[in-house]
């Protein structure tokens, strides 16, 4: 924890976990989708479902999907704004197995009909963790510029990915690997120390065996 985890963040109340963290979950999901969703199905689990309405959790998640940060004064009006902007939102409470008490599952559709599901938890103090993307386990906070690479599970692919990053002088903070079964699809999550330019991202996406390369940078736009 640094001093700005103690002093700050600037946020719309009332709860750092149920409001600020929820907004960050929405914004992270939007960045992962790459554009504003036209349809958003939001499932709230645990305490998010139990006290979410009184803490504006629903509005906060939608605000994030609309591109608002947790300190955006328009956050309380997010449901109305979503309606005006033609975002079809459904919100329901449900149970998720083995999930952190403050967890949401977002199923998003973009203008081109592509869907993406993101499961994320609010950990307190406005900090969050993404738990899964499209049902595949992954674990990252979005506090660092992050690459989420869906790739074939075959020998050597990780070294090809890291070679591209090395050639572009990108310093890796953490690497995690997830897969559903041997030889199937894997998810490689790489957190970098500094924002990653366009070039290496394009090279990664073009690598043989890489199905999709998503880049997440929650820094200023």
């Amino acid at each position: 924890m640094n001093i700005f985890d103690i002093m700050g963040p600037v946020m719309v109340g009332p709860s750092s976990s149920h409001t600020a963290g929820a907004a960050r979950i929405g914004l992270t999901a939007r960045r992962l989708l790459g554009s504003q969703p036209v349809k958003a199905d939001i499932l709230l689990h645990g305490s998010f479902a139990a006290t979410g309405a009184g803490h504006g959790t629903d509005r906060a998640i939608v605000a994030g999907l609309l591109g608002m940060r947790p300190d955006d004064a328009a956050l309380p009006r997010a449901l109305r704004i979503a309606e005006q902007e033609g975002m079809a939102v459904t919100i329901r409470a449900g149970q998720m197995r083995d999930a952190h008490p403050n967890t949401a599952l977002l199923t998003l559709t973009d203008g081109g009909g592509r869907t993406l599901s993101v499961s994320a938890s609010s950990l307190g103090g406005g900090r969050i963790r993404v738990n899964a993307i499209d049902g595949m386990e992954a674990s990252f906070s979005g506090e660092y510029p992050t690459l989420i690479i869906r790739n074939e599970d075959r020998p050597g692919i990780l070294s090809e990915i890291t070679r591209v990053l090395y050639e572009h002088n990108a310093n890796i903070a953490t690497v995690q690997l997830y897969r559903d079964r041997r030889g199937g699809l894997a998810v490689t999550v790489i957190e970098c120390d500094a924002p990653l330019p366009e070039r290496p991202r394009a090279e990664l996406a073009a690598l043989d065996g890489v199905v999709r390369c998503t880049y997440l940078d929650m820094g200023e736009d």
Binding site: M1, N2, I3, F4, D5, I6, M7, G8, P9, V10, M11, V12, G13, P14, S15, S16, S17, H18, T19, A20, G46, S47, A50, T51, A53, G54, H55, G56, R59, D71, A73, L75, P76, A93, P101, G124, G125, G126
Partner: protein, 291 residues
């Protein structure tokens, strides 16, 4: 982060002002220049000023439990005079601003966001203090807060309200001593006494919402901070050192049953009236909600 104890912070404060030791530690910790850290803290100070200024007396929270009380206090008189009236009113206003989905600065949490502005804004107003001094106060508060977070907790779900309002009050007490030109030792004494005074305070939000008693506890945190800063500046000592007080608060937090740690099941939340309120809010079932 290098300060895991108040004694280490006090040792660093022998070489440079305490607030600056916290600033330099932040620069080392995050690998940033002084200017970058200072800009960020200045922005928080401006946001804190704004959190009181943006108060709208007509605004109500979604539950209907909060709103309008700060304005009542601002228009009234205090037994302690205009300054104390302003402290109480500001704590209520920012606390309500938070409950009503207004913009606040979590310090250290959203539920306790009224404590720091409640003591700093009226003091700046009355004594004409420079913004620079107020930013230094925030570094002092953050420095002590960081140690409380590391040795104990700043989450009501973990340590009860002593971890939220209590931590805010202890941070504010140290900051006030700085604002009045006190020594680092007096800051530590103020922090220790403020935390002693709220030892064991439970977290029991009605209907699980950060509203009742949270808004009013901001007032208690602010007034306690003032009194402890005054005592420390007068040379009143804390018999138990600040690190030991923090460790005791951590131990008390661990002993607290879950029903008194933000689950909305104990304390005020368990009263018949609170249960009726929770029921009338329909879907709102008591449940943990971190301020």
């Amino acid at each position: 982060m290098s300060f895991v104890s108040v004694s280490a912070l006090l040792a660093a404060a022998e070489r440079e002002p305490l607030w600056q030791a916290v600033l330099d530690d932040d620069c080392r910790d995050r690998g940033v220049e002084r200017s970058e850290s200072l800009e960020r803290m200045e922005a928080l100070w401006r946001a804190m000023v704004r959190s009181a200024k943006e108060y709208d007396a007509a605004r109500r929270s979604a539950s209907g439990l909060s709103g309008g009380q700060g304005a009542k206090m601002a228009a009234a008189q205090s037994i302690g005079g205009p300054f104390l009236r302003d402290v109480i009113a500001t704590a209520l206003m920012v606390g309500e601003q938070n409950a009503c989905m207004g913009r606040i600065v979590a310090a250290p949490t959203a539920g306790a966001s009224g404590v720091m502005p409640a003591v700093l804004l009226p003091l700046r107003e009355r004594d004409g203090l420079a913004d620079e001094t107020m930013v230094q106060c925030l570094y002092v508060a953050a420095g002590f807060g960081q140690i409380i977070a590391a040795r104990a907790s700043i989450s009501g779900a973990e340590g009860g309200c002593q971890a939220e309002i209590g931590a805010a009050s202890a941070m504010a007490a140290a900051a006030l001593v700085h604002a009045r030109g006190g020594t680092p030792q007096a800051m530590a004494a103020a922090c220790a006494m403020a935390l002693q005074n709220v030892m064991g305070l439970v977290c029991d939000p009605v209907a699980g919402l950060v509203e009742e008693p949270c808004v009013k506890r901001n007032v208690m945190g602010a007034v306690n901070a003032l009194a402890c800063a005054d005592m420390a500046l007068a040379g009143v000592a804390s018999a138990i050192g600040c690190d030991e007080v923090i460790d005791a608060a951590a131990a008390v937090g661990r002993l607290m049953p879950a029903s008194l740690r933000e689950t909305g099941e104990g304390g005020l939340a368990a009263t018949a009236t609170a249960r009726r309120i929770a029921e009338s809010l329909g879907g709102e079932r008591p449940g943990p909600a971190e301020g």
